[in-house]
């Protein structure tokens, strides 16, 4: 068995702390699309450049357009040159590209899958990929059903004995709970849950992975990680970009479905979860699901008290005038889709009772950044009261992107004869502390999927619990739209969001 051989190769000991991926063929559905060009191929090239790919690997691009292997490789090379984090080495690219081929077929043509099966068998024989297949659904979500159905009908979903077949599903995992359940059923008609890898690229980011290390490998934090010491938590994802050609999708989705249901609730889970029983995938995912189940549901009028939705109007980003959301191409001029949302969320369990989690996400905000800020409670206003000094609370910030790192704000006495207290910051930057480049999230996630490690992928129940929470908010929004607040592009969102957090006697952090 190839997998067994990999695990018992004595030469591997001490070389790497992770299981080496099995030889396999990666089939990318939607191989001519943006995701393939910007993320998947550069990630695969970087893995090849780091020597992290298995010696026997094939990549097959499956798409509708007619093109030869050579043309496909040339297009991928251009993309890799543009988007790879490591500059392209001609010799290495040539070697990597030799394992890439193109398979033209309509997604709904069964014959195309039969041909694909034959091609994969040939590649197994020629390249020693051992019958292991990883199918990546990088096509548009409306194609998932037909692709999955044809994979099932053609038998490609079933691995031969001693081999494996897996599927990677890109978000969005549905648009609400019923559609997510429908998609999950669809996937599971063809693949078992253990074969299914739902990708949320935020979980592949180093800082997201570091949250568990920070919490559970440092005794100074975990003891304080509760309602006794923490006042509130702010989770922010901001970006200056508008809809950028995604209006067709985004106008139906909005910020809540596009970002909160997946990325931000995942970050909340990692922040709020209890220590898992082990580092295996299910132990970790069990704890995350418990957090989602502990979220206090937001329904009816509560939604309008605890959730602010906004939409950008015209304004300026980096000194350039930009249009209002409703004036963007392919956006309904009367759209009520939210491009900004701020929520006050409560995790109703022992650890977090009374600690609100404020989540905000928005487009056309002044800066790009994703972070988790843990705001600790104030010290008793006793000792320094007489000096008239105000003391800022301690804040631990976990920066997810860009400039990944962690900082801690604390108070210090200013040098001098008088007692003046100023906030100072201890800062840890991944970029300057570790002498190696941070891999892209997709590199880690592809490698994990090849290795059969689902820890950083969302499980079915996680996805469905998150939808349950988000759907209740949408249900309330559907009853009226007069709560939609407008904010100028280039501002930090609507004033109503500021009021939301002012109730906690706090303000949103400046990124």
């Amino acid at each position: 068995m190839p997998t067994e051989a990999l695990r018992t190769n004595p030469l591997r000991e001490g070389l790497t702390s992770r299981t080496m991926p099995d030889p396999c063929t990666l089939v990318i559905f939607g191989a001519t699309g943006d995701l393939t060009h910007r993320k998947l191929i550069p990630a695969l090239y970087n893995l090849a450049a780091d020597g992290a790919l298995p010696p026997a690997i094939s990549v097959v691009g499956f798409a509708r357009r007619d093109k030869s292997d050579e043309v496909f490789r040339t297009e991928l090379e251009e993309a890799a040159r543009k988007f790879s984090r490591q500059s392209l080495n001609d010799e290495l690219w040539k070697s990597f590209a030799s394992c890439v081929s193109y398979h033209r077929s309509e997604f709904d043509k069964f014959e195309g899958y039969q041909d694909l099966a034959r091609k994969l068998d040939e590649l197994d024989a020629a390249r020693g990929t051992c019958g292991n297949r990883l199918f990546y659904l990088a096509a548009s979500p409306d194609q998932f059903e037909v692709i999955l159905e044809n994979l099932r009908k053609s038998g490609l979903n079933k691995a031969r004995e001693g081999s494996w077949a897996r599927v990677i599903v890109e978000k969005p995992f549905g648009t609400d709970l019923p559609s997510a359940r429908g998609l999950n059923d669809l996937v599971q008609n063809a693949f078992e849950e253990s074969q299914t890898y739902r990708i949320d690229h935020y979980l592949g980011k180093e800082t997201a992975q570091n949250i568990m290390v920070l919490r559970f490998a440092n005794s100074i934090f975990e003891g304080m990680w509760n309602s006794r010491y923490i006042d509130h938590v702010q989770i922010t994802a901001s970006e200056p970009l508008g809809v950028e050609g995604r209006a067709g999708y985004y106008d139906k989705s909005g910020a809540l479905r596009d970002m909160v249901q997946n990325h931000l609730l995942q970050l909340l889970c990692l922040t709020a979860m209890e220590p898992p029983a082990g580092l295996d995938a299910d132990s970790i995912r069990d704890e995350k699901v418990k957090v989602l189940r502990s979220l206090r549901p937001l329904t009816g009028e509560d939604v309008f008290k605890h959730v602010i939705r906004g939409q950008y109007s015209a304004g300026a980003i980096n000194g350039k005038r930009v249009a209002a959301y409703r004036d963007e191409l392919n956006v309904d001029p009367e759209s009520t889709t939210e491009t900004y949302v701020a929520l006050e969320v409560n995790v109703d369990n022992w650890r977090w009772a009374g600690v609100p989690f404020f989540i905000r996400v928005g487009k056309r905000l002044p800066k790009s950044g994703t972070e988790i800020a843990i705001h600790f409670k104030s010290v008793p206003p006793v000792l320094f009261k007489a000096t008239g000094e105000s003391i800022d609370d301690n804040v631990l910030v976990i920066r997810i992107q860009p400039d990944e790192g962690i900082s801690l704000r604390m108070s210090a006495k200013m040098p001098g004869s008088s007692l003046r207290i100023e906030p100072v910051k201890m800062d840890f930057h991944y970029g300057t502390s570790f002498g190696k480049a941070t891999p892209e999230a997709y590199e880690r996630l592809l490698l994990d999927a090849m290795s059969g490690d689902p820890t950083l992928f969302a499980r079915r129940d996680e996805v469905e619990e998150a939808w349950k929470f988000v759907d209740a908010i949408h249900a309330a929004w559907a009853t009226r739209s007069d709560d939609l607040a407008f904010y100028s592009s280039g501002s930090w969102g609507p004033g109503e969001a500021d009021e939301l957090i002012t109730r906690q006697a706090s303000t949103w952090r400046r990124l």
Partner: protein
């Protein structure tokens, strides 16, 4: 991180250690910390002093200070540190100790902020060279790990006080004039250690990419059984770099449960089979080719002329010949050091490999 380098110096140029090398601002040894303080007070707000390790370089080569400073600069660009460069000449007739301070600043990210690492350079002549432990102890950044790169032959007896403080001892066995004796010192250091000190042989670090690539050749289900059928090995090493080849063979032997044989240049397997090896001296890189013969199967890993890549070739009867290009890592000393500093943890396989090749080194 941007690699743009700015040398933060307020003076310098006089009292330097060689004609072409400027080690920074000359300072009295007793006032080093104070002068470093002045250096930072006079710098602008865009520069931030940072230190995550104490990185000490010890050399007895009077001509290498410039090159060593270049290496420190490259290391500081990735691992902010307190760097101490010590050039000792114990045989100098006059006893004298001199010191200089300087800093290496690198742009952090896309902004204007620069992360700066301090460098203290010492020249210790004659009897002053014996002050080495004191020089080290009195100029460390407290509570930070101490990495000592020892660029000389190890003396005997070893100063236990000095070595006891070292968290990571870095050396390069490929440069030793008397490897048999030096390896025995390393074995003593390893076996007598009670402090958790990490021993890092840069020649072993360079072999990481070789080991990684060779292991990959045997991952495949059809190739894996060949590991138990190895019949002979052939390596090409640069003249005088036989120990590099032996270290790689020691690794294979430790992984495959071979023992050194009493016969010349051979190992013996657990079931008593003899495995001869040949190390040919060929001008070029320390190690340029590894061939493993297993019956009719041949596994070859060869370094490309540029030194950037390996070509792995597998010929096995009944299967298609395979060829793969793999990264070989960088050959520059700074890159090797950075690779070592980026990799935490000990090197248990190194000590195991060393045990197996010690009987072969003197032969």
């Amino acid at each position: 991180m941007n690699s743009s380098l700015a040398k933060l110096q307020l003076g310098g140029g006089c009292n330097s250690v060689s004609d072409s090398f400027d080690p920074g601002i000359p300072v009295e040894i007793g006032k080093i910390e104070k002068e470093l303080g002045h250096l930072w007070e006079s710098s602008d707000d865009t520069k931030t002093r940072a230190s995550l390790i104490n990185f000490i370089v010890y050399t007895e080569d009077t001509e290498s200070l410039s090159a060593d400073t270049e290496v420190i600069s490259a290391v500081a660009g990735k691992h902010a540190c307190r760097a101490i460069l010590i050039m000792a000449n114990p045989l100098a007739p006059v006893s004298e100790a001199k010191a200089w301070i300087s800093a290496h600043c690198h742009l952090a990210g896309k902004g204007e902020r620069q992360i700066c690492s301090e460098q203290i350079t010492f020249r210790l002549d004659g009897d002053s060279a014996h002050a080495l432990p004191n020089i080290v102890f009195s100029h460390l950044d407290s509570d930070l790990p101490l990495c000592l790169w020892w660029k000389a032959e190890f003396p005997e007896p070893l100063d236990e006080k000095l070595w006891g403080w070292v968290d990571r001892l870095i050396f390069d066995s490929s440069t030793w004039k008397n490897p048999a004796h030096q390896f025995s010192i390393i074995r003593h250091l390893s076996s007598s250690d009670t402090t958790g000190r990490v021993l890092c042989d840069l020649d072993w670090t360079r072999l990481h990419s070789w080991r990684f690539a060779l292991a990959g050749m045997f991952d495949h289900a059809s190739a894996f059984p060949c590991l138990s059928g190895v019949e002979s090995l052939h390596l090409k090493c640069a003249p005088g770099k036989r120990t590099t080849g032996l270290l790689l063979l020691g690794w294979l032997a430790s992984r495959l449960n071979w023992k050194p044989s009493d016969e010349v240049d051979s190992f013996i397997t657990a079931d008593g089979k003899m495995i001869p090896f040949v190390i040919n001296a060929v001008p070029g890189p320390n190690l340029s080719l590894v061939s493993i013969h297993c019956g009719e199967a041949l596994f070859e890993l060869e370094l490309s002329e540029s030194g950037d890549f390996f070509e792995s070739r597998i010929h096995a009867p009944g299967t298609r010949d395979t060829r793969q290009i793999l990264p070989a890592g960088r050959g520059k000393i700074a890159d090797t050091l950075l690779a070592e500093l980026s990799r935490s943890g000990r090197h248990p396989l190194y000590t195991k490999s060393l045990e197996l090749i010690l009987p072969l080194i003197g032969k």
